[in-house]
Amino acid sequence: MNESKNEVIRLEGVGRKFRTAEVETHALTGVDLAITKGEFVAIEGPSGCGKSTLLSILGLLDEPSEGRYLLADQAVETLGASARARLRRERIGFIFQGFNLIGELSVEENVELPLSYQGVGRAERKQRVKEALERVEMAHRARHMPSQLSGGQQQRVAVARAVVGRPLILLADEPTGNLDSSNGKHVMELLGELHQQGATICMVTHDPRYGEFADRSVHLFDGRLREQAAEA
């Protein structure tokens, strides 16, 4: 086992099975993957290949059926719900395809949410929310409600929410999937900037164009890791 202090994520032989009444589906089989600090990895593959399942496991939203998962050298595959929730709020930042802002909360309240769950004090929360929104150029919309924003703006707020907790890794699930090409490009440039500033990013995408923003791409097909491309 090659564990490295630079490895943020290490998967070893990870598999994920789903059972319905009669059928057992293997969404992932024997996946080995390592992501080092500061790396931008794209997980590519066609629809239904298991890439989002992989991202869910990486984000501790789902548990592998088999294999090992080390997050910052800590085995996490058998952790309980509460410990997983703690790791999610302290180590992981999510960016969803559908933005997933909470409609009843304002922009700044949405961004503040991970800090609230981390128990960060009010003054520090306000300061970090301000910084995060400035980073994505949305500070001027802090008091707005999500419904008052365009799709691109909403995704920038979602990015701010993902980074505000200073996570170890950003997990992005088709971050451009709900955006037109112009807005998609802007979001990708934003992720690129974050990467440049040192963020570790793992992004799921089916669009090879956006895969090019990553340091390397991982290809999934039928739940198996088929290829590991060299740096783009």
Partner: protein, 811 residues
């Protein structure tokens, strides 16, 4: 009409597609309407049905009040005669005497409700016999051949509805009386549940002014108003008061409408309160249904938007939705009648067996069906209007977009749902507070010290027919032999005789003068209830001799006439002196052939506290005389045993039969039963109120569950996002509970206000309980809060278990 028909058919089809929703809606609505209609059947039987006599609006009841004491007094035949002779406002008057009698035509005597009425009463009130005839003028004179009319119920039950009963002689109170007719139960003459009707035979000239045990009813002449009649009667009563100051001096007469004969003020207030409580339950059900309809509208928002897009106006959409609600109400209507019947039967089952006439007061007829139909119609508006208004307000551009805003999930609908649930909590809380204060009042009354131990005691009634036990010597002799026989009861049981056992009929009132005490000219003498008792009575019942002595075997006929008074009478009239040795002058008691005269007070016994429904327990002044000195025709045997008193009834019966094989015991019942009978009205009221309160609580909790559950389902995505961002399960649960808590606290606040408003009505109906008791308000609020939070348990678990993956909408 065609569109209405189309809407109706569409509503029917739409409801058929969702059988679970339809079944829940129809059933809960039927329960609500049924419960309300069942209580309405009491209103119908007691307040609306009125007296089933011709032109009941011209019938008035006389109520004589003592001006100073503020108590109602029965009237005398002398007053009946004088009123009849002097008043011009009336076509005629009738006098009644509500009495019981023994039907002794079979082995086991049966005590029957056998009022007496003056002859001509049936004609005056326009009541035709079901069979045979009424009483003739001649049958109203003393000494006339005894005749009776049978009540329809008794005629059917005991004589198999045999028409040849007319002309047959039955034995009543040991004497033969010829049946001249049968009276329909539905005519309630002179009151419901009359089993035997007897003519009130009296000598008008010799009518006594102090024999006050009669009721008087009159029929106003056409064109005479109640106020005119009242004014005339005020003059007449005033005149009689001046002429007979001792008996009529401090009296005033009130004329009451005929419906007041059926139910008194307390009963009317209680019944209307129950109807209001049932209405609250119905409102809570409508709240639940409105919430269901809102959820249903939300699910059908696209359909409504499509209809609007193809040209349906808002009014048309509203009509469609309201018609659907109408179909639900229509389907629930026949079921609600069935539920009403079941509720009425259940309510009747709460009435003790000894109260035989209550079914007359639960009148389930066309009026109740009409009420149920009207309420069904009203519920359409109550549960259908808001959801229909909401659902018909459509933003087409938004609604028809793929994934556009769904109707019923917007903040307006959420607010409406929350308002409905807060209202439901408020109604349930106010109802529970009201029910619990009445229940506390009932428990206080029930636990009040009656002055004797009711456990292990019973009473049975024995009537000595005048034909065979005529006059004091015969009665005295039988009482003596009976006391001897009762002294040999097995297993340590002992028994005593009295003219009126505790916890039943109070016995007659007698006036008395304290000898040697000065009184104002024309001052009416004080009155007290009277009982003739055997020497063992106080010991058997368990009354304490407070002063002096009880009765002894030496207090026989010919010895010094003596009385024992109770503590209540001693406190009221002998507070300034020792009553022992004082003498009082007692009035005659014509109704029981008991003579008056001077008596010496030889003892003071502890008082018996009376309980009546929800009225405050109270002891009344009472005089006791030895039966040996004042024998009576009808005696109650009071028996006390170490164990179950009913086990001694066989021996008791044997002793009686051993003395006279033709005598039978009647109304054999334990003191516990007698207490339950006297308290039944309050017991019934408090129980029904509590049942409605608990039903309201259950329904409100269903409402809370529905709203919180729906809102949780709507927020699944949000909970998923929060979980993905690291929220702990407890933090998610807190979000759901916060909503429940907010709703509950608003509802509880409103409910407390409503409860305080209701307390203005209920406070005068309670005993020893504060209608605004902070402890009760706090306890009921706590129960509501706990039930609210408990109702949220399932939605909370659902929210906590929401998978964050759902938020990502994977794969």
């Amino acid at each position: 009409m065609d569109t209405l028909r189309a809407d109706f058919l569409f509503g029917l089809r739409a409801l058929r597609r969702t059988p679970a929703f339809t079944a829940v809606a129809v059933l809960t609505l039927a329960i609500g309407i049924g419960a309300t209609s069942a209580i309405f059947s009491i209103v119908n039987g007691t307040m609306l049905y009125g007296l089933p006599w011709s032109e009941p609006e011209s019938i008035v009841s006389f109520r004589l009040m003592h001006k100073r004491e503020g108590e109602a007094r029965a009237m005398t035949l002398a007053q009946y005669r004088d009123f009849g002779a002097q008043a011009k406002s009336f076509e005629g008057l009738l006098a009644t005497f509500f009495d019981q009698a023994y039907l002794t035509d079979r082995e086991e005597a049966r005590m029957v409700y056998a009022p007496k009425v003056t002859v001509g009463s049936l004609g005056l009130m326009g009541v035709e016999p079901l069979l045979g005839r009424g009483f003739t003028e001649a049958e109203g004179h003393p000494g006339a051949e005894p005749v009776i009319m049978l009540g329809e119920g008794l005629w059917r039950e005991r004589y198999g509805a045999d028409p040849s009963i007319v002309g047959r002689a039955l034995e009543l109170n040991g004497e033969r009386a010829t049946v001249v007719g049968v009276l329909a139960d539905a005519r309630w003459f002179p009151r419901p549940a009359t089993e035997v009707l007897r003519p009130l035979a009296f000598d008008a000239v010799a009518a006594a002014r102090d024999d006050d045990r009669y009721g008087i009813i009159g029929r106003l002449r056409p064109g005479v108003t109640m106020q005119e009649a009242q004014a005339e009667m005020d003059v007449i009563v005033g005149r009689l008061g001046e002429r007979y100051p001792k008996t009529d001096g401090e009296l005033k007469l009130e004329l009451l409408a005929s419906k007041d004969l059926v139910i008194d003020d307390a009963g009317r207030r209680g019944t209307l309160l129950l109807l209001g409580a049932a209405g609250f339950v119905l409102l809570i059900i409508c709240g639940n249904l409105a919430n269901l309809m809102l959820a249903r509208s939300a699910a059908r928002h696209k359909e409504m938007a499509t209809r609007a897009a193809v040209g349906a106006s808002r009014g048309r959409l509203m009509r469609l939705l309201l018609t659907e609600c109408g179909v639900i109400a229509l389907l629930s209507f026949p079921l609600s009648l069935l539920v009403t019947r079941v509720f009425v039967d259940y309510l009747l089952s709460l009435v003790p067996d000894s109260i035989t006439y209550m079914e007359h007061f639960f009148r389930f007829d066309y009026r109740v069906a009409g009420f149920a139909a009207a309420v069904s119609g009203l519920t359409v508006v109550l549960f259908g209007l808001s959801p229909s208004l909401k659902a018909s307000r459509i933003d087409l551009s938004e609604s028809l977009k793929e994934g556009g805003v769904r109707g019923g999930t917007d903040s307006g609908s959420q607010r409406l749902r929350s308002t409905l649930v807060a209202g439901q909590i408020a109604l349930a809380l106010s109802l529970l507070v009201t029910a619990s204060v009445f229940m506390q009042s009932l428990v206080k009354i029930s636990r009040s010290d009656l002055g004797f131990d009711i456990q292990g005691a019973l009473s049975a009634t024995l009537l000595l027919p005048e034909g065979r036990y005529d006059g004091p010597p015969a009665l005295r002799s039988f009482h003596g032999r009976l006391e001897d026989a009762l002294s040999t009861l097995p297993q340590g049981a002992r028994a005593a005789l009295t003219s009126s056992a505790p916890l039943g009929w109070r016995g007659p009132e007698r006036s008395f003068q304290i000898e040697g005490r000065r009184k104002a000219q024309d001052e009416q003498p004080p009155r007290a209830h009277w009982s003739g008792v055997s020497s063992e009575y106080f010991k058997t019942v368990g009354l304490r001799i407070v002063k002096g002595r009880g009765f002894a075997a030496s207090d026989r006929d010919g010895a010094l006439p003596v009385v024992v008074i109770n503590q209540e009478l001693a406190d009221a009239y002998f507070a300034d002196r020792d009553p022992i040795g004082q003498r009082i002058e007692l009035s005659d008691l014509a109704s029981m052939k008991v003579t008056g005269g001077s008596r010496e007070i030889v003892g003071v016994v502890s008082s018996i506290t009376e309980v009546r429904g929800l009225l405050p327990p109270a002891a009344r002044p009472r005089l006791y005389e030895p039966l040996a000195q004042q024998p009576v025709q009808r005696v109650d045997i009071v028996l006390r045993s170490g164990g179950d008193p009913l086990a001694s009834v066989g021996a008791l019966r044997q002793r009686v039969k051993g003395l006279d094989a033709r005598l039978s015991l009647a109304q054999t019942e334990t003191m516990v039963t007698r207490k339950n009978t006297t308290m039944w009205g309050g017991d019934f009221f408090a129980k029904v109120m509590m049942i409605l309160g608990l039903l309201a609580l259950l329904l409100a909790s269903v409402g809370i569950y529905g709203v919180v559950s729906y809102s949780t389902a709507q927020r699944t995505r949000e909970f998923g996002i929060r979980a993905a961002l690291g929220a702990e399960p407890g933090q998610i649960a807190a979000l759901v509970l916060k909503k429940t808590l907010r709703l509950s606290l608003i509802g509880i606040g409103l409910g407390l206000l409503l409860a305080l408003l209701l307390s203005r009505i209920t406070e005068t109906m309670l005993y020893g309980v504060d209608a605004r008791s902070p402890a009760t308000l706090a306890a009921v609020s706590a129960v509501l809060l706990a039930v609210s939070l408990l109702s949220s348990l399932v939605p909370v678990l659902r929210a906590v278990r929401a998978q964050p993956m759902e938020a990502l909408r994977l794969e």
